[in-house]
Amino acid sequence: MHIPDGILPLPVTLGGYAATVGLAWFSIYMIKRRQDPRENIPKASLLTAVFFTASLIHIPVPPVSVHLVLGGLMGALLGFYAIPAIIIGLFFQAVMFGHGGLTTLGINTIIIGTPALLAHYIFRFRNTAPADPKRTGFFGFLAGSTAIALSVTIFSVVLFTNIPAHMDPETEMTAILLLIAAHVPLMIIEGIITCMTAVFLLRVSPGILDGV
Protein backbone atom coordinates (compact mmCIF):
# COMPACT_ATOMS: atom_id res chain seq x y z
CA MET A 1 0.00 0.00 0.00
CA HIS A 2 3.09 2.23 0.14
CA ILE A 3 4.25 3.37 -3.28
CA PRO A 4 8.05 3.79 -3.27
CA ASP A 5 10.17 6.36 -5.08
CA GLY A 6 10.67 5.95 -8.81
CA ILE A 7 7.38 4.20 -9.55
CA LEU A 8 5.18 7.18 -10.42
CA PRO A 9 5.87 10.02 -12.86
CA LEU A 10 6.71 13.46 -11.50
CA PRO A 11 3.32 15.12 -12.26
CA VAL A 12 1.50 12.44 -10.24
CA THR A 13 3.82 12.82 -7.25
CA LEU A 14 3.47 16.61 -7.38
CA GLY A 15 -0.31 16.25 -7.66
CA GLY A 16 -0.24 13.97 -4.64
CA TYR A 17 1.66 16.60 -2.64
CA ALA A 18 -0.80 19.32 -3.71
CA ALA A 19 -3.79 17.19 -2.67
CA THR A 20 -2.08 16.33 0.64
CA VAL A 21 -1.47 20.00 1.40
CA GLY A 22 -5.18 20.65 0.86
CA LEU A 23 -6.18 17.68 3.01
CA ALA A 24 -3.78 18.70 5.79
CA TRP A 25 -5.00 22.30 5.69
CA PHE A 26 -8.63 21.16 5.97
CA SER A 27 -7.81 18.81 8.86
CA ILE A 28 -5.86 21.43 10.79
CA TYR A 29 -8.63 23.95 10.17
CA MET A 30 -11.16 21.50 11.66
CA ILE A 31 -8.83 20.74 14.59
CA LYS A 32 -8.36 24.44 15.36
CA ARG A 33 -12.13 24.89 15.56
CA ARG A 34 -12.16 22.67 18.64
CA GLN A 35 -12.28 24.24 22.07
CA ASP A 36 -8.88 22.81 23.00
CA PRO A 37 -6.95 21.62 19.93
CA ARG A 38 -4.15 20.22 22.09
CA GLU A 39 -6.44 17.93 24.04
CA ASN A 40 -6.13 14.99 21.64
CA ILE A 41 -2.42 15.36 20.82
CA PRO A 42 -1.27 12.67 23.35
CA LYS A 43 -3.78 10.20 21.90
CA ALA A 44 -2.75 11.12 18.35
CA SER A 45 0.92 10.71 19.23
CA LEU A 46 0.43 7.24 20.72
CA LEU A 47 -1.70 6.09 17.78
CA THR A 48 0.96 7.42 15.39
CA ALA A 49 3.40 5.09 17.11
CA VAL A 50 0.98 2.21 16.56
CA PHE A 51 0.48 3.19 12.91
CA PHE A 52 4.25 3.49 12.41
CA THR A 53 5.00 0.01 13.72
CA ALA A 54 1.94 -1.62 12.10
CA SER A 55 3.64 -1.70 8.69
CA LEU A 56 6.21 -4.12 10.15
CA ILE A 57 3.52 -6.70 10.92
CA HIS A 58 3.18 -8.87 7.85
CA ILE A 59 0.32 -11.24 7.28
CA PRO A 60 1.04 -14.06 4.81
CA VAL A 61 -1.72 -14.36 2.19
CA PRO A 62 -0.22 -16.91 -0.25
CA PRO A 63 1.31 -16.33 -2.71
CA VAL A 64 2.00 -12.83 -1.37
CA SER A 65 2.07 -11.19 2.03
CA VAL A 66 0.36 -7.99 3.13
CA HIS A 67 1.00 -5.76 6.11
CA LEU A 68 -1.30 -3.95 8.50
CA VAL A 69 -2.20 -0.36 7.59
CA LEU A 70 -4.61 0.68 10.37
CA GLY A 71 -5.89 3.72 8.47
CA GLY A 72 -9.44 2.90 9.56
CA LEU A 73 -8.46 2.65 13.22
CA MET A 74 -6.67 6.00 12.99
CA GLY A 75 -9.67 7.69 11.42
CA ALA A 76 -12.18 6.14 13.82
CA LEU A 77 -10.24 7.05 16.97
CA LEU A 78 -8.57 10.30 15.93
CA GLY A 79 -10.95 11.99 13.52
CA PHE A 80 -9.23 14.92 11.81
CA TYR A 81 -6.08 14.36 13.88
CA ALA A 82 -5.57 11.24 11.76
CA ILE A 83 -4.27 13.22 8.76
CA PRO A 84 -1.25 14.89 10.45
CA ALA A 85 -0.65 11.62 12.35
CA ILE A 86 -0.60 9.62 9.09
CA ILE A 87 1.71 12.13 7.37
CA ILE A 88 4.19 11.89 10.27
CA GLY A 89 3.88 8.10 10.43
CA LEU A 90 4.42 7.71 6.68
CA PHE A 91 7.44 10.02 6.82
CA PHE A 92 9.12 7.90 9.49
CA GLN A 93 8.19 4.67 7.70
CA ALA A 94 9.85 5.96 4.52
CA VAL A 95 12.96 7.26 6.25
CA MET A 96 13.52 4.39 8.70
CA PHE A 97 12.26 1.30 6.88
CA GLY A 98 12.10 2.35 3.24
CA HIS A 99 8.35 1.68 3.18
CA GLY A 100 7.09 4.19 0.64
CA GLY A 101 9.26 7.13 -0.32
CA LEU A 102 9.78 10.82 0.18
CA THR A 103 8.68 11.78 -3.33
CA THR A 104 5.55 9.65 -2.92
CA LEU A 105 4.75 10.87 0.60
CA GLY A 106 1.93 13.00 -0.80
CA ILE A 107 0.24 10.31 -2.86
CA ASN A 108 0.67 7.76 -0.05
CA THR A 109 -1.04 10.19 2.33
CA ILE A 110 -3.97 10.42 -0.08
CA ILE A 111 -4.09 6.60 -0.38
CA ILE A 112 -4.25 6.08 3.40
CA GLY A 113 -5.49 9.44 4.74
CA THR A 114 -8.62 9.91 2.62
CA PRO A 115 -10.02 6.50 3.66
CA ALA A 116 -9.13 7.36 7.26
CA LEU A 117 -11.39 10.43 7.05
CA LEU A 118 -14.14 8.29 5.52
CA ALA A 119 -13.71 5.85 8.42
CA HIS A 120 -14.08 8.77 10.81
CA TYR A 121 -17.44 9.74 9.29
CA ILE A 122 -18.61 6.11 9.26
CA PHE A 123 -17.66 5.65 12.91
CA ARG A 124 -19.53 8.84 13.86
CA PHE A 125 -22.79 7.12 12.85
CA ARG A 126 -22.62 5.27 16.17
CA ASN A 127 -23.41 8.61 17.87
CA THR A 128 -26.89 8.70 16.31
CA ALA A 129 -28.05 6.46 19.17
CA PRO A 130 -26.91 5.89 22.78
CA ALA A 131 -23.53 4.21 23.08
CA ASP A 132 -23.84 0.48 22.80
CA PRO A 133 -21.01 -2.10 22.44
CA LYS A 134 -22.74 -3.87 19.56
CA ARG A 135 -23.37 -0.65 17.70
CA THR A 136 -19.85 0.62 18.36
CA GLY A 137 -18.39 -2.70 17.26
CA PHE A 138 -20.44 -2.77 14.08
CA PHE A 139 -19.46 0.73 13.00
CA GLY A 140 -15.87 0.05 14.08
CA PHE A 141 -15.73 -3.00 11.84
CA LEU A 142 -17.34 -1.07 8.98
CA ALA A 143 -14.87 1.81 9.39
CA GLY A 144 -11.81 -0.46 9.48
CA SER A 145 -12.76 -2.63 6.53
CA THR A 146 -14.07 0.23 4.36
CA ALA A 147 -10.86 2.18 4.86
CA ILE A 148 -8.76 -0.71 3.51
CA ALA A 149 -11.15 -1.23 0.60
CA LEU A 150 -10.93 2.43 -0.39
CA SER A 151 -7.15 2.50 0.09
CA VAL A 152 -6.71 -0.50 -2.20
CA THR A 153 -9.05 1.09 -4.75
CA ILE A 154 -7.13 4.39 -4.86
CA PHE A 155 -3.79 2.51 -4.87
CA SER A 156 -4.90 0.33 -7.80
CA VAL A 157 -6.35 3.21 -9.82
CA VAL A 158 -3.13 5.22 -9.40
CA LEU A 159 -1.05 2.25 -10.56
CA PHE A 160 -3.37 1.18 -13.39
CA THR A 161 -3.32 4.66 -14.87
CA ASN A 162 0.45 5.03 -14.60
CA ILE A 163 1.91 1.88 -16.11
CA PRO A 164 4.98 2.97 -18.12
CA ALA A 165 4.93 2.33 -21.86
CA HIS A 166 8.02 0.11 -21.76
CA MET A 167 6.44 -2.30 -19.26
CA ASP A 168 4.19 -5.22 -20.12
CA PRO A 169 0.74 -3.93 -19.04
CA GLU A 170 -0.82 -7.39 -18.76
CA THR A 171 1.87 -8.67 -16.40
CA GLU A 172 1.59 -5.56 -14.23
CA MET A 173 -2.22 -5.65 -14.20
CA THR A 174 -2.17 -9.32 -13.20
CA ALA A 175 0.19 -8.50 -10.34
CA ILE A 176 -2.03 -5.60 -9.22
CA LEU A 177 -5.17 -7.78 -9.34
CA LEU A 178 -3.36 -10.40 -7.26
CA LEU A 179 -2.48 -7.71 -4.73
CA ILE A 180 -6.10 -6.52 -4.59
CA ALA A 181 -7.28 -10.08 -3.91
CA ALA A 182 -4.65 -10.45 -1.18
CA HIS A 183 -6.08 -7.40 0.61
CA VAL A 184 -9.55 -8.92 0.98
CA PRO A 185 -8.52 -10.88 4.11
CA LEU A 186 -6.82 -7.72 5.38
CA MET A 187 -10.15 -5.87 5.11
CA ILE A 188 -11.68 -8.39 7.51
CA ILE A 189 -8.65 -8.40 9.82
CA GLU A 190 -8.51 -4.60 10.09
CA GLY A 191 -12.28 -4.47 10.55
CA ILE A 192 -11.98 -6.89 13.49
CA ILE A 193 -9.03 -4.95 14.97
CA THR A 194 -10.95 -1.65 14.78
CA CYS A 195 -14.12 -3.29 16.14
CA MET A 196 -12.33 -4.91 19.09
CA THR A 197 -10.34 -1.77 19.93
CA ALA A 198 -13.46 0.42 19.83
CA VAL A 199 -15.49 -1.97 22.02
CA PHE A 200 -12.57 -2.35 24.45
CA LEU A 201 -12.18 1.43 24.77
CA LEU A 202 -15.94 1.86 25.18
CA ARG A 203 -15.93 -0.54 28.13
CA VAL A 204 -12.66 0.53 29.75
CA SER A 205 -12.40 4.23 28.98
CA PRO A 206 -15.36 5.59 27.00
CA GLY A 207 -14.03 9.13 27.29
CA ILE A 208 -11.40 8.32 24.66
CA LEU A 209 -14.14 7.77 22.09
CA ASP A 210 -16.05 10.89 23.00
CA GLY A 211 -15.66 14.02 20.98
CA VAL A 212 -14.03 12.36 17.96
Binding site: P42, L56, F155, P164, M167, E172, A175
Partner: protein, 188 residues
Amino acid sequence: MSDTPVKGIALLSGIKQLKNPCGRTVPCRPLENENHLSMYRIFFSLALAAIILGGAVDIHAHGVAAGYSNVPGIEISAGYDTGQPMSGGQVVVYAPDNPAEPWMTGLLDEEGRFGFVPDYSLPGTWSVQVRQAGHGAMIHIPVQEQGIDDSRTDSASAFTGLQLAVMAGCVVWGFIGTAMFFTRRLKN
Protein backbone atom coordinates in the same frame (compact mmCIF):
# COMPACT_ATOMS: atom_id res chain seq x y z
CA MET B 1 25.95 -32.98 -22.93
CA SER B 2 28.92 -32.94 -20.62
CA ASP B 3 26.98 -34.31 -17.65
CA THR B 4 25.85 -37.50 -19.44
CA PRO B 5 28.89 -39.56 -18.43
CA VAL B 6 28.50 -38.36 -14.86
CA LYS B 7 24.97 -39.72 -14.71
CA GLY B 8 26.17 -42.96 -16.18
CA ILE B 9 28.79 -43.25 -13.51
CA ALA B 10 26.24 -42.63 -10.81
CA LEU B 11 23.98 -45.37 -12.12
CA LEU B 12 26.85 -47.84 -12.51
CA SER B 13 27.87 -47.27 -8.94
CA GLY B 14 24.28 -48.03 -8.01
CA ILE B 15 24.61 -51.39 -9.71
CA LYS B 16 27.69 -52.14 -7.69
CA GLN B 17 25.71 -51.56 -4.53
CA LEU B 18 22.93 -53.86 -5.73
CA LYS B 19 25.45 -56.67 -6.06
CA ASN B 20 25.88 -56.49 -2.29
CA PRO B 21 22.72 -58.28 -1.00
CA CYS B 22 23.12 -57.53 2.69
CA GLY B 23 23.19 -53.81 2.11
CA ARG B 24 26.36 -53.28 4.07
CA THR B 25 29.71 -51.92 3.04
CA VAL B 26 31.51 -55.03 4.34
CA PRO B 27 31.93 -57.99 1.96
CA CYS B 28 29.01 -60.44 2.01
CA ARG B 29 29.02 -64.21 2.14
CA PRO B 30 28.89 -66.13 -1.17
CA LEU B 31 25.43 -66.63 -2.68
CA GLU B 32 23.75 -69.86 -1.66
CA ASN B 33 21.17 -70.69 -4.32
CA GLU B 34 20.08 -70.01 -7.86
CA ASN B 35 17.00 -67.96 -6.83
CA HIS B 36 19.25 -65.24 -5.57
CA LEU B 37 21.22 -65.36 -8.78
CA SER B 38 18.12 -64.93 -10.93
CA MET B 39 16.99 -62.01 -8.75
CA TYR B 40 20.31 -60.28 -9.26
CA ARG B 41 20.07 -60.88 -13.00
CA ILE B 42 16.67 -59.12 -13.02
CA PHE B 43 17.99 -56.16 -11.03
CA PHE B 44 21.04 -55.99 -13.25
CA SER B 45 18.85 -55.99 -16.37
CA LEU B 46 16.64 -53.24 -14.91
CA ALA B 47 19.64 -51.14 -14.01
CA LEU B 48 21.15 -51.62 -17.46
CA ALA B 49 17.85 -50.57 -19.06
CA ALA B 50 17.80 -47.49 -16.82
CA ILE B 51 21.29 -46.54 -17.95
CA ILE B 52 20.39 -46.90 -21.61
CA LEU B 53 17.08 -45.06 -21.26
CA GLY B 54 18.59 -42.40 -19.04
CA GLY B 55 21.39 -41.79 -21.49
CA ALA B 56 18.97 -41.66 -24.38
CA VAL B 57 16.76 -39.10 -22.63
CA ASP B 58 19.77 -36.95 -21.81
CA ILE B 59 21.11 -36.95 -25.32
CA HIS B 60 17.94 -36.64 -27.31
CA ALA B 61 15.61 -34.72 -24.95
CA HIS B 62 13.01 -33.18 -27.32
CA GLY B 63 15.75 -32.51 -29.81
CA VAL B 64 16.87 -29.39 -27.94
CA ALA B 65 20.50 -28.43 -27.98
CA ALA B 66 21.81 -26.07 -25.37
CA GLY B 67 25.18 -24.69 -24.58
CA TYR B 68 26.89 -22.06 -22.54
CA SER B 69 29.79 -19.69 -22.72
CA ASN B 70 31.80 -18.10 -19.96
CA VAL B 71 30.80 -14.42 -20.24
CA PRO B 72 31.01 -12.15 -17.19
CA GLY B 73 27.55 -10.76 -16.45
CA ILE B 74 25.39 -9.29 -13.71
CA GLU B 75 22.77 -11.16 -11.73
CA ILE B 76 20.05 -9.14 -10.05
CA SER B 77 18.17 -10.63 -7.12
CA ALA B 78 15.05 -8.95 -5.76
CA GLY B 79 12.75 -9.84 -2.92
CA TYR B 80 10.41 -8.30 -0.40
CA ASP B 81 11.61 -7.46 3.08
CA THR B 82 9.71 -10.50 4.33
CA GLY B 83 12.28 -12.63 2.50
CA GLN B 84 9.84 -13.63 -0.22
CA PRO B 85 11.40 -13.44 -3.72
CA MET B 86 9.80 -11.01 -6.16
CA SER B 87 9.08 -13.77 -8.66
CA GLY B 88 7.61 -12.59 -11.96
CA GLY B 89 8.55 -8.96 -11.31
CA GLN B 90 9.47 -6.82 -14.28
CA VAL B 91 13.05 -5.67 -14.77
CA VAL B 92 14.09 -2.59 -16.73
CA VAL B 93 17.79 -1.98 -17.46
CA TYR B 94 18.99 1.52 -18.34
CA ALA B 95 22.38 2.11 -19.98
CA PRO B 96 24.51 5.08 -18.86
CA ASP B 97 24.29 6.83 -22.24
CA ASN B 98 20.47 6.98 -22.23
CA PRO B 99 18.78 6.82 -18.82
CA ALA B 100 15.39 7.67 -20.34
CA GLU B 101 15.05 4.73 -22.73
CA PRO B 102 15.26 1.13 -21.47
CA TRP B 103 18.27 -0.80 -22.77
CA MET B 104 16.67 -4.11 -21.87
CA THR B 105 13.51 -5.40 -20.22
CA GLY B 106 12.77 -8.81 -18.73
CA LEU B 107 11.16 -10.77 -15.94
CA LEU B 108 12.52 -12.08 -12.65
CA ASP B 109 12.49 -15.85 -12.35
CA GLU B 110 10.79 -17.87 -9.59
CA GLU B 111 13.64 -17.11 -7.20
CA GLY B 112 13.54 -13.40 -7.98
CA ARG B 113 16.71 -13.47 -10.10
CA PHE B 114 17.55 -11.91 -13.45
CA GLY B 115 20.82 -12.05 -15.32
CA PHE B 116 22.16 -9.90 -18.12
CA VAL B 117 25.46 -8.99 -19.74
CA PRO B 118 25.96 -5.22 -20.00
CA ASP B 119 27.61 -3.64 -23.01
CA TYR B 120 31.10 -3.05 -21.62
CA SER B 121 31.78 -0.52 -24.34
CA LEU B 122 29.37 1.77 -22.44
CA PRO B 123 31.17 2.37 -19.13
CA GLY B 124 29.37 4.31 -16.43
CA THR B 125 26.50 3.75 -14.02
CA TRP B 126 23.94 1.24 -15.23
CA SER B 127 20.56 1.46 -13.54
CA VAL B 128 18.26 -1.49 -13.00
CA GLN B 129 14.69 -1.09 -11.83
CA VAL B 130 12.66 -4.01 -10.52
CA ARG B 131 8.94 -3.48 -10.17
CA GLN B 132 5.80 -5.45 -9.35
CA ALA B 133 2.34 -4.11 -8.51
CA GLY B 134 3.51 -0.75 -7.26
CA HIS B 135 6.42 -2.17 -5.30
CA GLY B 136 9.92 -1.83 -6.56
CA ALA B 137 13.46 -0.61 -6.18
CA MET B 138 16.24 0.77 -8.32
CA ILE B 139 19.89 -0.15 -8.04
CA HIS B 140 22.88 1.47 -9.70
CA ILE B 141 25.79 -0.63 -10.95
CA PRO B 142 29.15 0.98 -11.79
CA VAL B 143 30.47 -0.72 -14.94
CA GLN B 144 33.95 -0.19 -16.41
CA GLU B 145 35.39 -1.50 -19.66
CA GLN B 146 37.25 -4.17 -17.68
CA GLY B 147 34.12 -5.26 -15.81
CA ILE B 148 32.13 -4.23 -12.76
CA ASP B 149 33.75 -1.83 -10.33
CA ASP B 150 33.43 -3.88 -7.14
CA SER B 151 34.74 -1.06 -4.95
CA ARG B 152 31.62 1.01 -5.70
CA THR B 153 29.04 -1.76 -5.84
CA ASP B 154 25.68 -0.52 -4.60
CA SER B 155 22.93 -2.77 -3.35
CA ALA B 156 19.63 -2.11 -1.65
CA SER B 157 20.46 -4.10 1.46
CA ALA B 158 17.76 -4.93 3.98
CA PHE B 159 18.11 -4.26 7.70
CA THR B 160 18.42 -7.09 10.17
CA GLY B 161 15.62 -7.78 12.62
CA LEU B 162 17.64 -6.31 15.49
CA GLN B 163 18.39 -3.12 13.56
CA LEU B 164 14.71 -2.72 12.70
CA ALA B 165 13.70 -3.28 16.32
CA VAL B 166 16.17 -0.66 17.60
CA MET B 167 15.10 1.87 14.94
CA ALA B 168 11.41 1.27 15.60
CA GLY B 169 11.99 1.47 19.37
CA CYS B 170 13.71 4.86 19.07
CA VAL B 171 10.91 6.35 16.98
CA VAL B 172 8.18 4.87 19.20
CA TRP B 173 9.93 6.32 22.25
CA GLY B 174 9.83 9.70 20.53
CA PHE B 175 6.06 9.42 20.06
CA ILE B 176 5.58 8.32 23.67
CA GLY B 177 7.70 11.25 24.84
CA THR B 178 5.57 13.64 22.79
CA ALA B 179 2.41 12.18 24.32
CA MET B 180 3.83 12.53 27.84
CA PHE B 181 4.93 16.10 27.18
CA PHE B 182 1.48 17.20 26.03
CA THR B 183 -0.26 15.21 28.81
CA ARG B 184 1.80 17.09 31.39
CA ARG B 185 1.00 20.43 29.79
CA LEU B 186 -2.71 19.55 29.85
CA LYS B 187 -2.52 18.66 33.56
CA ASN B 188 -0.75 21.93 34.35
